[in-house]
C-alpha cells in the first residue's frame, strides 16, 4: 500500500504512475482512472499486482480545477517473500536504511519492504522538543 497526501484547495484529481528502476523513462498508470477524491495522510494506492522484486519509482500527480499540476516522486524496493524461519536483511532502494529481521521474528512469511519518505512529505507537530532530520547522506554500497 502507498500512503500519502493528495490535496489542494481547488483539488480536481490525482493519479499515481509507476516505472521500472530509479529513473524510469516509461511511466504507466497504476490505476485506470484518475481518482476524484482527495486524500490526506491516507491510502493512495493499494498495490502493484503482479510486480516482481526490484526497484520501482512511483509518481504522484495532483491536478487542480484549472489543470495546474504538482508532482512528487519516490523510489521503492519490492523484495521477494521473506521466510519467517530464516529472517534476513531488507534495505531501502538507496541503501540508507536497513532492517535486520532475525529468524522467527515475523509471525508469518511476508513481503517486507523499506521505503524512504522525505521529511517534507510528512506533517509534523511543531510544539515539540525534537525536529525531523533531513538525511542528506551519500548512498553507500554494502557487500
Amino acid at each position: 500500500m502507498l500512503f500519502g497526501t493528495a490535496t489542494d484547495a481547488n483539488f480536481k484529481s490525482y493519479q499515481v504512475e509507476f516505472g521500472e528502476g530509479a529513473s524510469p523513462t516509461i511511466w504507466a498508470a497504476a490505476f485506470t482512472q484518475d481518482s476524484q477524491t482527495s486524500v490526506e495522510q491516507g491510502e493512495l494506492l493499494q498495490g502493484l499486482p503482479g510486480k516482481r522484486s526490484g526497484i520501482y519509482s512511483l509518481r504522484l500527480t495532483v491536478e487542480d480545477q484549472v489543470e495546474q499540476q504538482g508532482q512528487a516522486q519516490v523510489r521503492i524496493s519490492i523484495t521477494s517473500l521473506m521466510e519467517k524461519a530464516r529472517g534476513g536483511d531488507v534495505r531501502s532502494a538507496d541503501a540508507g536504511i536497513s532492517l535486520y529481521l532475525p529468524p522467527n521474528s515475523l509471525q508469518q512469511d511476508a513481503i517486507v519492504t523499506v521505503n524512504r519518505t522525505p521529511s517534507s512529505a510528512i506533517s509534523w507537530s511543531l510544539d515539540s522538543s525534537w525536529q525531523p532530520l533531513d538525511l542528506n547522506w551519500w548512498p553507500i554500497r554494502y557487500g
Binding site: 535486520y100 521474528s105 533531513d134
Partner: protein
C-alpha cells in the same frame, strides 16, 4: 488474529538508519521515533548512535513508519530502574546450535521505568 506488523516479542528486528552529521544541530543527536497509527504523533524509541559510521540503530518490535529526529540527549534519572522484560539484544552473535552466525556486533536495547 495476530497483528502482522507486530514482531515476536523476544525476536525484535534491528533498524539502522544512516544520517549526515553535517545536518545535525550542535549539541543534538539523531534519535529514532515511531509514528503512531498514521497520526501526527510520534513516540520516542531511542537508538544507539555510531558516530564513525554515522548511523543510528535500535531494536523495533513492530513494523511501521519510523523517522529520525534530532533532539538534545536525554539523561536518565539516577533512580531509574531497568525494565527486565525489555532487555533484548540483536542480532544474536551465537546461535543455540553453537554455529556462529556472521555477526560480530550486537545492539543491547532496554527501557527504563
Amino acid at each position: 488474529m495476530a497483528d502482522p506488523l507486530r514482531l515476536n516479542k523476544i525476536k525484535p528486528a534491528t533498524l539502522t538508519i544512516i544520517y549526515d552529521e553535517a545536518s545535525l544541530t550542535r549539541g543534538k543527536q539523531p534519535t529514532i521515533f515511531r509514528q503512531l497509527d498514521n497520526s501526527q504523533q510520534w513516540q520516542l524509541i531511542g537508538g544507539m548512535v555510531n558516530t564513525s559510521r554515522q548511523t543510528v540503530s535500535t531494536a523495533i518490535h513492530q513494523l511501521g513508519r519510523y523517522g529520525v529526529m534530532e533532539m538534545a540527549p536525554v539523561e536518565a534519572d539516577n533512580s531509574a530502574q531497568l525494565l527486565k522484560e525489555s532487555l533484548t539484544y540483536q542480532p544474536r552473535v551465537f546461535s543455540p546450535t553453537g554455529r556462529r552466525v556472521p555477526n560480530t556486533e550486537t545492539t543491547i536495547s532496554f527501557q527504563l521505568d
